[in-house]
């Protein structure tokens, strides 16, 4: 079986879905690896690193021509799909629930498609869970970006030239990204507060030494560890509880997502108006509509002295590590799907079943 | 009244008892739990001090009183069993407190 590693086509995404070290593992298992030219450059992997690991570095055309399995991080774009050949297996994030068109197009090419974002959050799938591995880095990087954008430093410092008060950081949504953001901001010495609709996160926040802002959440539910959409009443209570902190915050990081839905609006324009001059908001939910009303994906909006940065670019920019982890997830996933380089198509298995969106051109999930 | 008399006659003994109890308590309290068993075992060996009485019984027995001698013999055997066995077992238990060499 030949695995084709595509270069990401989104310019701001510097990752690559397989790193040289993992190609080596795959090759030792009997796969062949075809890597698109310069696929690893953004992650500081040279073409020579791949060839030294035993892969062939090939042109895009030759890759689509020869590969049995084609892999990528971001959803395939039109140009990719056009080159698919019947019978190929393609793997990437497909976001099938919100992208029916894309799914139809891929299906029409007669390929089988697995979606990495559909991997269920069960214990044995933890090592394939790209959401966790990438969100984690996003949490870290969001803090670094915030620290870089701010005109203040994080820690308290009592110096001969006066005392610098510590920055106050507020984090909305304490999933994987939120937790890592808390940990990183705490390390740098900021005063960190966080809030989440799921009350079980209180203990987790405190286990990282930060303060949890409790919002009475009677009536709200969660589902398999994920939050469901919050009621309007909850949103109002949340604002009341959090505003004091929000208006004092120097940096706000929002990570609140609801799987398969538009992300909830947690910070309205009216709230932004009352924030500190010079405050920064990093909205990691921007790609799903944003947790801040004013945020725009991949843009920095300046509103009345507040900088609002809409991004998911966080993990993409720590591309070396992000690619390493993604590659390991991908390896584990491929290992799970195959036996001696052949796909097993074991649809009894929850992971296979959940992720196999298209089988030989037939759409299984939508 | 008899008891009071007895007390009076044995005043020294009573002081000794009191002081010994104090020492016994003072010496044992606050020992770590892992030492409970070895300590119990060590104390057990010490209670074999009854052997001294057993020997005296034999020494004082009429050399022709075979019953007394036999009983005394038995008492000595049992007593020394308690003493020797007790100390040796304790010592073995305490092996585990030797610092292992790497």
């Amino acid at each position: 079986m030949k695995i084709g590693v595509l270069k990401e086509s989104i310019l701001s995404d510097h990752r690559v879905c397989i790193n040289p070290a993992i190609t080596k593992v795959l090759i030792s298992k009997g796969f062949e690896c075809l890597v698109e030219e310069d696929a690893g450059v953004g992650s500081n992997f040279k073409n020579s690193d791949y060839t030294e690991a035993g892969s062939s570095v090939v042109s895009r055309e030759s890759l689509f021509e020869n590969a049995d399995i084609i892999i990528k991080i971001n959803p395939f774009d039109k140009a990719d799909i056009a080159l698919f050949k019947k019978g190929q297996v393609v793997i990437s994030q497909l976001f099938h629930k919100s992208n029916p068109e894309l799914i139809n197009e891929i299906a029409s090419r007669g390929v089988s498609a697995f979606s990495m974002d559909a991997i269920p959050r069960i214990s044995r799938a933890q090592d394939m869970d790209i959401l966790s591995s990438q969100s984690n880095l996003a949490g870290y990087k969001a803090v670094i970006v915030g620290a870089n954008e701010m005109t203040k430093i994080f820690p308290l410092m009592m110096t001969a030239a006066g005392t610098i008060t510590p920055s106050r950081i507020l984090i909305y949504g304490v999933g994987v990204a939120g937790l890592q953001a808390i940990a990183t901001a705490r390390r740098l010495g900021a005063i960190v507060e966080a809030t989440d609709i799921r009350m079980e996160t209180k203990e987790q926040v405190e286990s990282l030494g930060a303060k949890f802002i409790s919002v009475d959440n009677t009536g709200e539910q969660s589902e398999g560890g994920y939050a469901k959409e919050a009621s309007e009443d909850y949103a109002r209570r949340q604002k009341e509880a959090v505003n004091v902190s929000l208006f004092k915050a120097d940096l706000v990081i929002t990570t609140a997502l609801i799987p398969g839905r538009k992300s909830p609006v947690l910070i309205t324009e009216e709230q932004v108006n009352q924030m500190k001059n010079g405050a920064v908001i990093i909205d990691l939910a921007a790609s799903h509509g944003g947790n801040c009303e004013l945020s725009k994906m991949n843009e920095t909006v300046l509103h009345r002295g507040v900088k609002i940065i809409g991004t998911t670019m966080a993990p993409e920019s720590v591309s070396t590590n992000a690619s390493d982890l993604y590659a390991k997830n991908m390896l584990n996933f491929i290992n799970h799907l195959t036996k001696e380089t052949q796909f097993t198509w074991d649809l009894e298995d929850q992971i296979t079943n959940d992720t196999l969106i298209i089988k030989n051109g037939e759409i299984r999930k939508s | 009244m008899q008891i009071l008399e007895f007390l009076k006659d044995n005043l020294n003994l009573i002081y000794i008892l009191t002081l010994t109890v104090f020492i016994g308590v003072e010496v044992i309290k606050n020992i770590p739990a892992v030492l409970h068993t070895p300590l119990m075992s060590g104390a057990n060996a010490l209670s074999g001090v009854v052997i001294v009485g057993a020997i005296i019984t034999m020494l004082e027995a009429d050399p022709t009183d075979y019953i007394a001698l036999t009983l005394g013999f038995l008492a000595v055997v049992l007593g020394i069993l308690n003493v020797v066995g007790g100390f040796v077992v304790t010592d073995r238990m305490l092996q585990m407190f030797k610092k292992k060499k790497s």
């Binding site: - | 020492i23 016994g24 739990a33 057990n44 020494l59 007394a68 008492a75 000595v76």
Partner: protein, 461 residues
């Protein structure tokens, strides 16, 4: 030269006190045992040779023979016994001591008829000695499984108390009447033997150590009483010393087992296991809970310790404490490392963040795949606030939500200590068989508190 003997007895007494004192610290315990045994040897030899009676050689030979026989047998028994069977052997030896006191009492009885206080003393020696004997033998039988662990007559408490009351009244009457009836004497003996049996049979196997300690204390008292008979100081002081020390030890053992003292005194032993754990014990096996000082000694005398941190360590904010413990143990020559499970905690790298905060060296953190083969050479694994990541259900139980997740194979280690607050499950919400593993002991309590206490305990060693 009786004065020499008195001096010898004084020296022996001092060795007893000092030896017992040394026995109370792990570092000096062996020395204490040795010193006490030397004192004992001195007392025995002195007793045999330093007196002003004229003794026929054959009596001497008899005594020496008795001592030789007893020593050899005692030594052999003690050396041959397996480590795990030691407590029952101690019980047996203790019984022998009691029997010895009884016999002395029987022999002396005849000599002292008419002297009320002497008779009373003899009687006390016989009663205490024989009940200690029978009780110890029963305890021995229970521990080595020759006897069913728990036999309870209806209303056994009441019966027992009546029997001992009867014995005392009987003995008092005996003394008062100044009788010299051998028959009555043997009746008393038999009564005491029966009481000893009755006292021990209703008590469960787990409580045996406490019982043995109590009986041991009684043997000491019997020895002291016999000593009064001969106005023999080393017996009196030695016996009382064992008596008081044994009693305190009994209380200490109760406390360590979380049993109240009244439980013991009023015979309400036997309510078998400590009140920890939920109802499912019977299926899964027993939970062994352990104490701070046990864990401290265990760790201090280990060569290799691996710490498995989990989410609970973060909740307890015990990162600084665990680092201190690690450094302390290292300074004692123990090799310590941390085994980091990839999903320990609640976010990727949670344990790394946590331990970095307290400056744990990166070199001490081992990844799961590297550390798993090392467990089998590990003396102690200390699992702190971790649960799912060491749950063997991930291998064994296909129906469990964590099935298929790789885990830290701590069960390969020689001993496992698990520190958590309760038997509550972790993130996955499932029970953990590891806790029922015979090699596992549970240290219940908040991680920070427990570790800090551990540090203190280790420091004092």
């Amino acid at each position: 030269m009786m004065i020499t003997l008195d001096i010898i007895y004084l020296i022996a007494t001092i060795t007893f006190i000092y030896g017992l004192k040394l026995l109370g610290h792990p570092e000096t315990a062996k020395k204490g045992n040795l010193i006490a045994s030397l004192g004992m040897g001195l007392a025995i030899i002195g007793t045999i040779f330093l007196h002003n009676l004229i003794i026929p050689t054959f009596v001497y030979s008899l005594i020496i023979a008795a001592i030789a026989v007893g020593s050899v047998i005692g030594w052999l028994m003690a050396v041959k016994v397996q480590m795990t069977k030691m407590p029952e052997l101690v019980s047996l030896f203790n019984g022998f001591g009691g029997a010895s006191a009884t016999i002395i009492g029987l022999v002396e009885f005849g000599k002292n008829i008419g002297n009320a206080s002497q008779t009373a003393t003899t009687m006390a020696a016989i009663i205490i000695g024989s009940l200690t004997f029978s009780g110890s033998v029963v305890a021995w039988g229970k521990l080595n499984g020759r006897m069913k662990s728990l036999i309870r007559l209806p209303k056994y408490n009441l019966i027992n108390n009546l029997v001992i009351l009867g014995l005392i009244i009987f003995a008092t009457y005996f003394v008062m009447s100044a009788s010299n009836s051998q028959m009555l004497l043997y009746l008393l003996l038999i009564g005491a033997l029966i009481y000893g049996v009755l006292f021990v049979i209703p008590i469960g196997g787990a409580d045996m150590p406490v019982v043995i300690s109590l009986l041991n204390s009684l043997t000491g008292i019997a020895a002291a009483i016999t000593g009064v008979l001969y106005s023999n100081m080393v017996m009196i002081v030695g016996g009382i010393l064992v008596g008081s020390a044994g009693l305190i030890l009994t209380f200490a053992m109760c406390k360590a087992m979380n049993r109240s003292i009244s439980n013991v005194v009023f015979g309400a032993f036997g309510s078998s296991n400590a009140a920890v754990g939920d109802g499912s014990q019977s299926e899964k096996g027993d939970i062994r809970s352990t104490t701070i000082s046990d864990v401290a000694i265990l760790m201090n005398y280990s060569q290799r310790v691996i710490i498995v941190p989990g989410y609970g360590l973060a909740v307890a904010q015990a990162q600084h404490a665990i680092h201190e413990l690690e450094q302390l143990l290292e300074s004692r020559g123990v090799q310590v490392k941390y085994a980091i499970h990839p999903v320990a905690g609640r976010m990727p790298g949670h344990m790394n963040v946590l331990l970095a905060e307290s400056n744990v060296s990166y070199d001490k953190l081992a990844e799961m795949d590297d550390v798993n083969p090392e467990f089998k050479n590990t003396d102690v694994v200390f699992v702190v606030g971790a649960n799912d990541v060491v749950n063997p259900a991930a291998h064994n139980d296909a129906s469990s939500p964590i099935f298929g997740m790789p885990i830290l194979e701590v069960a390969d280690a020689k001993q496992i200590i698990v520190n958590k607050r309760s038997m509550n499950p972790g993130y996955a919400g499932i029970e953990n068989e590891l806790f029922y593993n015979p090699k596992t002991s549970m240290l219940f309590g908040d991680a920070k508190k427990c570790i800090q206490e551990l540090i203190n305990e280790v420091k004092n060693m």
